[in-house]
């Protein structure tokens, strides 16, 4: 496996009974890339992501994430990936700093590391004054950023974001993407699904899924010129309308 490849997927499939959610998808993601994963609801994006971060076993095919086989090395996968789902998943009834402490502990960080990380995160997110507030009192955009930060406590090289900005206002989304860029600049690979086409334009490369298959893959500029459209939105609508 080449050294600059973070995610390598070949002919990966997942069936639920007779339903084929993901149908032999293949692609590669380079290290430090922001890779956008587009597709209509039910196209199979979430199923694909869940397989890549070890939540679901594939029916067939191979995939390597951060150099580990997703079928046989799921515990290594979990140590070397971060995952944040469309569902906000911090404990609302824990304080901000308790959430950080908890996830730090779960990822096996030492007490000292947890203390350092907590300090760092709180100052980066400007949450020092809120550290003793219950998480449920935070505005949605902040919760989202906090969730991202806690998903990255263990410094994973590959990060999966499944519709991370769902239900967040435009300003917060912009802030969120600033963080994504910052993380990518540190050499981390970001794998993101989204329904916001303006966000898709921020990605370095995109893939578009339709009915379990990847029907298009390339840089935003390539896709736009290939379909002769002015925006990814138009490309997406054209592809998703096809049958």
């Amino acid at each position: 496996m080449e050294n600059d490849i973070a995610v390598k997927v070949s002919k990966l499939s997942r069936h639920f009974g007779s339903f084929v959610a993901v149908d032999e998808i293949s692609f590669e993601v380079k290290k430090g890339e922001i890779f956008g994963f587009l597709g209509a609801n039910g196209a199979g994006k979430t199923t694909a992501i869940k397989m890549l971060c070890g939540l679901l076993k594939p029916t067939s095919g191979e995939a390597y994430v951060a150099g580990f086989n997703i079928k046989t090395e799921s515990s290594n996968i979990k140590k070397h990936t971060g995952y944040m789902s469309q569902k906000f998943s911090l404990y609302e009834d824990l304080k901000v700093k308790e959430n950080i402490e908890f996830y730090g502990g779960i990822y096996g960080l030492s007490r000292k590391e947890i203390l350092n990380k907590t300090k760092l995160l709180l100052s980066e997110l400007h949450l020092e004054n809120m550290q003793n507030s219950l998480t449920k009192t935070l505005p949605m955009g902040w919760k989202q950023r906090l969730a991202l930060s806690t998903a990255l406590l263990h410094d994973p090289p590959v990060i999966f974001l499944d519709e991370p900005t769902g239900g967040v206002d435009p300003v917060s989304r912009r802030n969120f993407w600033r963080i994504i860029y910052k993380i990518a600049n540190l050499g981390k690979t970001i794998f993101v699904t989204t329904h916001y086409m303006d966000e898709a334009e921020y990605c370095k490369r995109l893939s578009i899924m339709h009915k379990g298959k990847i029907i298009e893959i390339g840089t935003p500029a390539d896709l736009k010129s290939k379909y002769n459209k002015s925006s990814i939105q138009d490309v997406f609508v054209e592809l998703a309308d096809r049958d």
Binding site: K87, S89, Y91, E98, F102, Y103, I106, Y107, G108, L134
Partner: protein
């Protein structure tokens, strides 16, 4: 190991932050003990009687006095009309009617066999049986007094072939139902806290998405499960100890046996209930479903445990089915320790049954949990 500690810490933080939940966990059980401990009673007291004295003689009045003075009976009135008498039973004003026929005294004096009719409201068979027993006792005592006061019978004639019964009820001398009910209440408390809270706690994390977030961390399923069950086990044990203290204060019933042994048996019992809780969480998508399943399980367990109804009175097939109920064994164990102070060597079969159930249920639950969630 450290991961488990973090999970336990998190769980306790959540429990203690949720004031409504805390009230449910600590106060509701005490109310339950107070209400159910007093309400669930199989004691037969204050049996309402109505009397018809057709004889109206010194002998009949003497017999009536025995009923009036007996602490189990409460005389609500005298009726001369038989229809009114049966109305009393029909309307529930009286549970029992005593009819002393005409010539009662004459039959006694003439050494004929005097009759007394006793009519009992038999709707609640158990109650009726006990009430009739008390009435029969009174008649028997009355008869003995008649015999001993009969002047022309010699000493031997008075005592011949007379078998005196001298009953003694061990462990619960007054045959009160409280000492019998209370250990069962503790068992049910423990069942509720461990099974309900575990299943709902896991399903809640499923609902809010934190379970999925946990599953992408390197944490193992068994750590996750232990992190969930340890806090609720500690909570369960603490609550039953508080409950036992409360029971002592309110009802004056203390544990006869070793408290430590009781906690030990409780820990064995909750392996089953925690296993069930986890199992329920794997078949439920929402907290409502989990609650319903736990409720359904609990009702079956309680009804088939001998808590209310003695297992010996159940149909043969049902009796065999109760053998599959861990609560059945635990209630036996608790009653033994609570009332008799029985030690482990007399409770080995029950304890082993609990261990076997616990092991099977817990392992099955973990396997299913790993398959469904892990």
């Amino acid at each position: 190991m450290r991961q488990i500690l973090y999970l336990v810490q998190k769980e306790f933080r959540q429990i203690f932050r949720d004031k409504a939940m805390l009230r449910i966990i600590f106060i509701v059980p005490l109310i339950q003990i107070l209400v159910l401990g007093n309400a669930i009673t199989t004691d037969v007291k204050n049996i309402k009687i109505v009397i018809q004295d057709q004889d109206k003689t010194p002998y009949s009045r003497e017999l009536i006095l025995q009923f009036v003075h007996c602490k189990y009976f409460k005389t609500i009135g005298f009726e001369d009309n038989y229809t009114n008498l049966s109305d009393c039973l029909a309307s529930g004003k009286a549970n029992l009617a005593i009819v002393i026929p005409k010539h009662f005294q004459r039959h006694i004096v003439l050494n004929k066999k005097p009759d007394v009719q006793i009519l009992v409201d038999g709707v609640d068979g158990n109650y009726a049986g006990v009430a009739l027993g008390y009435a029969t006792d009174i008649l028997q005592k009355y008869q003995e007094r008649l015999i001993s006061s009969t002047p022309y019978l010699g000493f031997y004639a008075k005592n011949i072939h007379r078998v005196e019964k001298a009953p003694m009820f061990w462990y619960n001398p007054n045959l009160e139902s409280k000492p019998y009910i209370v250990p069962g209440l503790i068992a049910i408390l423990l069942l509720i806290i461990t099974m309900f809270l575990t299943s709902m706690g896991i399903v809640r994390e499923k609902e809010i998405g934190t379970l999925e977030q946990l599953m992408v961390t390197p944490i193992r399923s068994y750590q996750l499960v232990l992190g969930k069950v340890i806090p609720f086990s500690i909570l369960g044990i603490v609550v039953i100890n508080i409950a036992m203290g409360f029971i002592y204060l309110i009802f004056g019933i203390a544990v006869k046996g070793s408290l430590l042994f009781m906690v030990f048996e409780s820990l064995i019992f909750i392996i089953s209930t925690l296993g069930l809780g986890i199992f329920i969480s794997t078949i439920s998508e929402t907290q409502q479903q989990a609650l319903f399943m736990a409720w359904f399980t609990m009702i079956c367990f309680i009804l088939l445990s001998g808590f209310f109804f003695p297992i010996a009175n159940m149909p043969y097939v049902i009796q065999k089915i109760t053998l599959l109920n861990p609560l059945r064994y635990f209630i036996i164990i608790l009653r033994e320790i609570y009332l008799k102070g029985t030690s482990i060597k007399d409770l080995i079969p029950e304890t082993l049954s609990l261990v076997a159930f616990g092991a099977c249920l817990f392992i099955a639950a973990i396997i299913r949990f790993r398959k469904k969630i892990g």
